[in-house]
Amino acid sequence: MSQLLDILTTAAILYAVAAGLLIVFGVMKIINFAHGGFLTVGGYSALAVTKLGIDPWFALAFAFVIGFVCGMIIERLVVRPLYSRPLDAILATWGLGIIIGQVITLAFGREVQFVQSPVTGAVGLLGASYSEYRLILVVIAVVLAVALGLILNGTRLGLVTRAVIMNEDLARGLGINSGLVRFATFSLGAGLASLAGALITPLSSVDPNMGVPWLVNAFMLVMVSGVSLVSLAFACLVLGGAQVLVSTYGNPILGGLTIVVLAALVLRFRAQGFARD
């Protein structure tokens, strides 16, 4: 039972972490390697808020806003000139991740710090006791997934975004300013990454390089998911589940490799990964 919950909560966390990266990849066809940096920004936003004694729940909103603003600035200055050079965009955003990490180190120090959790304790669930915060994360991830789904499928903004994902040239010919859509998407992706960073910090700790391992897993999940949020949920469940099982019955360090290795193999034999053709 608790293993099932582990799988579910792990998938939820992975989904929250990877969603922003997927949206950026879908619209802009570039991999944002600063995603790890934005996660770190979110973690430290949460740290700053809780240190000031403000309600930890507020940290989530704060982290989102900070990430969004960082995304706006970075899209204009760095990402926009690299639209036609996707591999260089990977490098430049990785460099941004380094910059973010160093700025945070200078501001907060390089040591590992702990963030107060909004809720502590465990709840009894079907005879087992389980971390309340992890369960709340599942709820948040589901809310996030539903909200993204509603925005994409239920609003004009979402329609315009989907149009740009499917055929950017055609969308432009219909009067859609795809540059603006890219700008908004990158900012949203950064905001979501930062939000995810704030969400995961109570589970572990913050340090200036906390984003890197998450970045790699999120990147691989996005690679196997194509540009579909539904495939992403599926990939998080399958690969996240495999990670939990390998960690439990094998060894936690090898468990950490599960997603990366499985995703690479899936792509080798099925180039579109878990996405429909």
Binding site: I31, V78, P81, L82, R85, P86, L87, D88, I90, L91, A92, W94, G95, L96, I98, I99, Q102, V103, T105, L106, R110, V212, V216, F219, M220, M223, N251, I253, L254, G256, L257, V260, V261, A264, L267, R268, A271, D277
Partner: protein, 612 residues
């Protein structure tokens, strides 16, 4: 230009040949100078600097392999650190667990090289399969160091886990000697890489970077080239890692990790990708400065590097080396150095194609060829035969399936059903480079050339399949079949042999691609709108050449063309495609007079149309 003049020019070949040797001599002089600098280094430099430089030399050797892979071949790799780590651990593990003896040192050296090469072969198989996207290749090179370092973390006492291995016995060599070994290793490696990338074989790397698809359709097995290159680069990184463990007597998982892999990329990018010297100097300067500065201002220094990296990638993708060279030249008031040297074209000895001798064989046989995209049928039941000497035009409205049919003939994996025989060889599911070996040459619709190679270099790439290029020098002459020479002479390309293809006019690019395809000595020539975007005189000239290729050189030419006037003038036979099916297969006059064709072409019957 007559053939006589071309052959006659071959006697002039001695001078460029001397030039090629002069280049090698210059490299030799530079190498000796660099070795001398390395030789005096330990006597004039402070000990701390000597220590830092030993490490930087070894890092620079790895950075050099990153530059060959990324800067020259276009493979963005995060994974060279893994091979370095494998080499380092091969030494560390053997020396820690078995002890240090000359025998074990030798064993672990070969173990290091072998393990790195094996890992590279596996990674290459994963990353560079036929049709893999460049992004996927990069993904795999990113996975590799993560996997290797995590395995090292999980190795418990055997690998020392996160603290790694240290304090093992190692070579009893003075620090000065290590400096000489590492320095000489780097200098000789750089010189070797320099000679290689400038050689005829080295140009294949640039060709792959510029246009992988064109390489495959010139008969080059790109996957195999990339895998071999990666294996060699891995061996070099493994040796560097082995030496690193030997001198530092410490190994840790970070040296095999992804972050070190990206650090190598930063050094290469800042130094200047695709310049070899830039990445080497970049690594030396940055790593040594880091060891001095990171003590005083640890985070600020890394921040500065990060900012510089982003700025260079965005605003100065070539890195700092080209900038330095340009200002150096301006200082000396010298013009652009001429890298390319004059190449002399000579006629190749053409082997009569096997298909000719057998007699009664068909150049091209298609049986029930179909192509579906999901439920959409693009081609259905295409069947025809063609012989050498035929100039067969494929016509039909947009979406009739003409280009798709060309693709199916040149790549075995394209069609959904049916069989295709080229000179009686079944192409099965074989990739384009195998179809080339059966005698197919394909020219693409838009001029598909190598932008940063000169005309002569591009033509030599096309000859790779028939004549193995040198790995260390540039041949002064280039053998080409008569057909290719004729196209080159007729379009004036022979005046621009040393011009990079991106500077050519559109029509000349089209001619260059045609000449490249002819250099393959194909018997079946696939041409997709070879005259698109050309002026009227250029079209006429190309048309004349095509007729000559079919009649004099006995090529079987399949031509896709929209300009029906052009088709009428040159074809010996016309196939009309409509909605994926052959609706007419006949002579030019049959097609011209066909009411059916006219109605297909104008969307409806044109009442008073007459074949003017």
């Amino acid at each position: 230009m007559s053939n006589g003049t071309i052959t006659g020019a071959a006697t002039m070949a001695s001078q460029p040949h001397r030039r090629s040797h002069a280049n090698l001599r210059n490299i030799a002089i530079l190498t000796v100078v660099a070795l001398l600098i390395v030789g005096v280094g330990p006597y004039v430099l402070p000990t701390y600097m000597v220590n830092s430089l030993i490490r930087a030399f070894l890092y620079a050797a790895v950075a050099l392999t990153v530059d060959v892979l990324w800067g020259y071949t276009g493979i963005l790799t995060f994974g060279q650190s893994a091979f370095f780590g494998i080499g380092a651990y091969a030494a560390g593990l053997v020396f820690t667990h078995l002890g240090f003896t000359p025998g074990y040192a030798t064993l672990s050296f070969f173990g290091a090289v072998f393990a790195a090469m094996l890992a590279a072969a596996i990674v290459g198989w994963l990353a560079f399969y036929h049709g893999a996207s460049p992004l996927y290749g990069s993904v795999i090179t990113l996975v590799l160091p993560i996997v290797v370092s995590q395995i090292l973390y999980s190795g418990g006492n055997f690998t020392g886990s996160s603290s790694g291995l240290s304090g093992f016995e190692s070579f009893d060599i003075s620090i000065e000697t290590w400096f000489w070994i590492a320095g000489a290793f780097l200098v000789l490696l750089t010189a070797g890489a320099w000679i290689f990338v400038r050689s005829d074989a080295g140009k294949i790397l640039i060709a792959i970077r510029d246009n992988e698809q064109r390489c495959e359709y010139l008969g080059i097995n790109v996957s195999r080239v990339k895998i071999l290159l990666l294996v060699v680069c891995a061996a070099i990184a493994g040796i560097a890692g082995y030496a690193f463990a030997g001198v530092q007597m410490v190994v840790a998982p970070e040296y095999a990790g992804f972050v070190f892999g990206t650090e190598l990329l930063i050094w290469v990018a800042l130094g200047g990708r695709g310049t070899l010297i830039g990445p080497v100097l970049g690594t030396l300067v940055l790593d040594v400065s880091t060891s001095y500065l990171s003590g005083n201002l640890p985070y600020v220094w890394k921040l500065i590097i990060g900012v510089a990296f982003v700025v260079v990638i965005v605003a100065l993708p070539g890195g700092l080396m080209p900038l330095a060279i340009a200002s150096w030249r301006r200082l000396l008031r010298r013009g652009r150095a001429v890298d390319a040297e004059t190449t002399v074209l000579v006629p190749a000895e053409e082997e009569p194609f096997a298909g000719l001798q057998g007699g009664g064989q068909h150049a091209l046989t298609l049986t029930e060829v179909s192509k579906h995209f999901g439920s959409l049928k693009v081609l259905e039941g295409i069947a025809f035969q063609a012989q050498r000497g035929e100039l067969l035009s494929l016509v039909g409205p947009n979406g009739a399936g003409k280009t798709t049919l060309m693709r199916c003939i040149a790549d075995g994996d394209e069609r959904s059903r049916g069989s295709i025989l080229i000179n009686d060889h079944d192409i099965q599911r074989l990739p384009p480079y195998s179809c080339v070996a059966f005698g197919v040459g394909r020219k693409f619709q838009t001029a598909n050339v190598f932008d940063s190679l000169t005309v002569a270099q591009a033509l030599r790439i096309a000859r790779t399949r028939l004549k193995r290029p040198s790995f260390w020098q540039r041949a002064p002459t280039l053998e080409l079949p008569q057909a290719a020479l004729q196209v080159i002479a007729a379009t004036g390309l022979d005046q621009h042999l040393d011009l990079e293809a991106r500077h050519l006019a559109h029509g000349q690019k089209q001619a260059l691609e045609l000449a490249m395809v002819l250099a393959l000595e194909p018997s079946v020539l696939l041409l997709d709108e070879p005259t698109a975007g050309l002026t009227k005189p250029e079209r006429t000239r190309i048309g004349g050449i095509l007729v000559d290729l079919a009649t004099a050189h006995r090529l079987c030419i399949l031509l896709v063309e929209h300009d029906l006037d052009f088709v009428r003038e040159i074809s010996s036979r016309v196939i009309v495609l409509h909605q994926g099916k052959i609706v007419l297969d006949g002579t030019v006059s049959e097609v011209v007079e066909s009411e059916l064709v006219r109605s297909i072409y104008s969307g409806a019957v044109l009442p008073s149309a007459s074949a003017a």
